[in-house]
Each structure stands twice: as structure tokens, then as C-alpha cells.
Symmetry: C2
Subunit: 279 residues, 2 copies
């Protein structure tokens, strides 16, 4: 078992994907990135729930039991080998098919699982992040909003901009200029005692940790989270800002352009709650 | 040389894609589908021009010479084997890279070429097409409009709807309800003697045959093509409708829902012109 990276395709160890594959050809598929820690997959139910929504939205045959089985088998293998904390990515493509956009009559989804060492202790909160603003924006596509499909060029281009400006993360807006997310995470803004997170009805990904904050972590602190349309000005005026990501947990934000934040109390409290919530 | 389907990866025959690959992971790449006919690739310059635009838009390293070389080598092989008329798809992904959206510092694009028999005589015009209307719409994304990137779920879902309603092609609208294209081709409408094609500044793909119609075929018949915002009502009211596609050429439309067309003169004339324009 290589601890660096390992790949399974349709249940077998190996890193050679048989072509054609509609995941490569058209971004025709979905994925989830799970945190494997201390021998277990964290919040696996939330990931599988989003995946199931995605499979349904894209019209895949019901394949969740098969996916869950393969993910569980890999996790069991990792546990037996005392694998260090890792990112486990499961990719479901619509598999092979004839030339052209139309899916084949009989779809055989392909399941690719890859594991890579995390390389840090997720329970120790990340240092506060410096944010920049991406010029690439989320496209407007209500039908695909929320799910984690494979067609992710916008986030790739945003992450590329992040590298260029040497920021820790980068804020992505929608076509109307409203704040949506960072390139790999969901944003939260504390404004006058009210916790807000961007509404994701026309773009973006509904993060598993976003849901966790809204449904469990914030309520545990007596806070309700409001899904809102938030402007860049509101982001800049917020009292505290942080973002969520499955591998990072909750990370405080210390700057966005000229604006700086010293206050990270809520994010710190939520991250403590987060470390207690093994689902 | 199998005449059915053959695949080359980075210049070598073979159909096993080494993972990770950012094309599969994020739809991070581009493609072109060329018509190989009578021993040559048709309109290859137009395809390579669009590909070059796409490479630049996505921030790929300049790799067109290398791509062109591999495409040319495959075409030469096909010619030497007297390959029948075929579709040659070239896929460029951003290649391997570490986990996460951000591209690696050094990008090594991967070039996949696949060839599949066409199975019909493209010079013989297709029978007039029955069109339906897709419920899935194009997302609004000006930055990626026009280029042929790998993130193509919308067209996949439209093509899936087409199969379900047993139409020959399916009309896709944008978020505002304006007519954009069919699932795999560009639309043209003749309205009161004026030829129109949808503006593609916020979504859609600028087809090579669309450009050919606009720049050479229509002018040869004394017609100027106007890029317009076109409503469904205008589509229904048009005097003649057809669509263009690299493998099909120009195909007349005989119905869209209740609306029927018997008139296909312009499309027939343009297709005759098209068969004369070997570029």
C-alpha cells in the first residue's frame, strides 16, 4: 500500500482508465472528496447524500449501493494498513459509450477512488486565510447548482488566479457580482450578530461542512444561519468571515484585499464544535 | 489498424489513460471533432484556430504545434491505411497534477486522439430533422462562451432528452429563454430573406461550420449572416431553419414541435457549396 497516492478503478487497484470514458470526454459525472481520519471516513452520509442528489440530477442509474460498497472496501483496507489521515476522492463517470453527447442506452457508471495523504492535522485549525477576488465568475446554471459534478473549469481558473496572486483562497462571484464562495469552500459572514452564507440556487456547490455548520454546529452555539444574497460590500463590512471545506474544516479569514479581520472567535468556536462532531 | 475505433494517448496507440488526469477530475481541457474524409482532415485550420483560442482562454501552455503534429501523424497513418470516412476527436487535458483545483506549476498537457468510423456519406445531405425543445438550458458563462472545453454536461443532458422524445436534434435555450443552438450544432434561421444565427457571447460553441457558413458559404450565395438574439417565437416563424455540425455538414429542419417546414432550398444550396469547399 503506497501511502502517497493509490487509485482503484471499478474496485481494482490500478491507475489506467480504459477509454473512452464520458467523464474525460464531457465532464459527465460527479465526485466527492472525503476526509479519512483515524481509520474512518468522516461525514460519509452527507457526502453520499449529495452524491445521490447528483446521480439523480444527471439521470444516472441508481448506483449508490455499489459506490458505497467500493468506498467502504477501500476505507477498510486503509484502516487495516493504519493509513495516515488522507483525502479520499471518489469519482463516478457515466462510463464508456459511443461517440457523441448522448449517453448510451445502458449506462455502466465507472467508479474511480483515489487516496492521497492529507499532510496536516485537520483538527488543528488552519491559520487565518488571506483572500483575493477572482475575475472568473460562476456561470448561472440553476439546474446544476449545488451538486458536485465533474465540469469544474470555473473553479480551476479561480484557483489558478489564486496561485498567481499568492492568496490562500479566492472569492468567486456570480454573474450578477454577488458573493458565492471561495474556489474550494463555502463562505460564512457574521454581520451584526447574524450568521449568513451565500444562497446557492443558481451556482456553487452545497458543501457537506456548510450543511453541518447550518444544521448542527451553529445551532449548538445558539446561532441560526441565513442563506442570503451577499454583496462584496457586505463581505467587506462583515464582523467576521470564514470558510468551510471537507479537508480543512472551518478556516478563519484575516484579509480580503485591503480589508483585514482580527476577530475569529465564532470560527474558532465552530471549529471546536466541528472536531467533536464525528458522524 | 482497427477500422471501428482506435485511440492514441500522447502519440502512442493505446486506450489506457494514466490517472490522475485533470480532464477526468475537473473537465479541465478542450476538444475538437474533425471530419476525416477521402484521406484528409477537413477544415483542420478552423478547428485548430478554435482550439488555440481555447488553450489561451484556459491558460494552457502553448501546445498547438505538438497537438497539430500528433493529429497530422494520425491522419497520415489513417490515409496510408485507406481508412474510411471517420470522426477524429482530439482531446487536450491539463494532464496530471496534485490533488485539488489548482493546476500544477508545470503543466504537461495530455493529448488523446480517437478515431471512429463515420458510417454515412457526409456529402449526401441528411434527411430533414425533427427538433424538440430541451428543458435543460445553457448556463450563462461569457468567459467560456464559444470555446469547446470538456465541461459539457448541459449538452449531454439535452442529448439525453432528445433520445427520450425520439427527436433528431433538440433546441437549447439560454437562461433568458433565447434560442442558442441544438445539442450538437449551430442553428440558422431564414427570416424574410435575412439569414440569422444566434449570438454566442454568453454560452454555446462557435462551430467551425457556423463560421464557414458566415464567412464563405452564405456570401457565395450573396447572403450576409446576422448574429442575433432569437426567440422561440422567431424560430417558429422562420421561413427556413437548418443547423450545422462538423460531421453532418448542413442539415435542414422539417419540424419543431407543431411547426413544420417544407422549404429547404437555402440549406440545400449551402450544402452544395459546402461540398465544394475543401479547406
Amino acid at each position: 500500500m503506497p501511502t502517497q497516492t493509490a487509485i482503484w478503478i471499478d474496485g481494482r487497484p490500478g491507475s489506467e482508465l480504459p477509454l473512452p470514458d464520458r467523464g474525460l470526454d464531457f465532464g459527465d459525472g460527479l465526485f466527492e472528496t472525503l476526509l479519512f481520519s483515524a481509520g474512518r471516513l468522516m461525514h460519509v452520509e452527507r457526502h453520499m447524500q449529495r452524491l445521490e442528489n447528483g446521480l439523480e440530477r444527471l439521470g444516472f442509474p441508481a448506483s449508490l449501493p455499489q459506490i458505497t460498497e467500493q468506498v467502504t472496501t477501500v476505507a477498510t483496507t486503509l484502516r487495516s494498513l493504519a493509513q495516515v489521515d488522507s483525502a479520499l476522492r471518489v469519482t463516478i463517470s457515466r462510463g464508456p459509450g459511443p461517440r457523441g453527447y448522448a449517453p448510451p442506452i445502458t449506462v455502466r457508471p465507472r467508479i474511480v477512488i483515489s487516496v492521497a495523504e492529507l499532510g496536516y492535522d485537520w483538527q488543528q485549525q488552519h491559520s487565518p486565510a488571506h483572500l483575493a477576488q477572482a475575475s472568473i465568475r460562476w456561470g448561472t446554471q440553476p439546474f446544476l447548482a449545488g451538486i458536485k459534478h465533474l465540469s469544474r473549469i470555473e473553479q480551476v481558473l479561480a484557483a489558478r488566479e489564486r496561485l498567481a496572486v499568492k492568496a490562500d483562497e479566492i472569492v468567486m462571484l456570480d454573474q450578477a457580482g454577488t458573493v458565492v464562495s471561495v474556489s474550494a469552500g463555502n463562505l460564512f459572514l457574521l454581520i451584526g450578530g447574524q450568521l449568513h452564507t451565500p444562497k446557492l440556487d443558481s451556482c456553487g456547490v452545497t458543501g457537506t461542512r456548510r450543511q453541518l455548520v447550518m444544521e448542527r454546529l451553529a445551532p449548538a452555539l445558539g446561532l441560526h444561519t441565513q442563506e442570503s444574497r451577499l454583496s462584496v460590500a457586505q463581505l467587506e463590512a462583515a464582523d467576521e468571515v470564514f470558510y468551510s471545506n471537507a479537508l480543512v474544516g472551518l478556516r478563519p479569514v484575516c484579509s480580503f484585499g485591503e480589508r483585514q479581520w482580527q476577530r475569529h472567535e465564532l470560527c474558532q468556536s465552530l471549529h471546536r464544535q466541528y472536531c467533536l462532531h464525528y458522524e
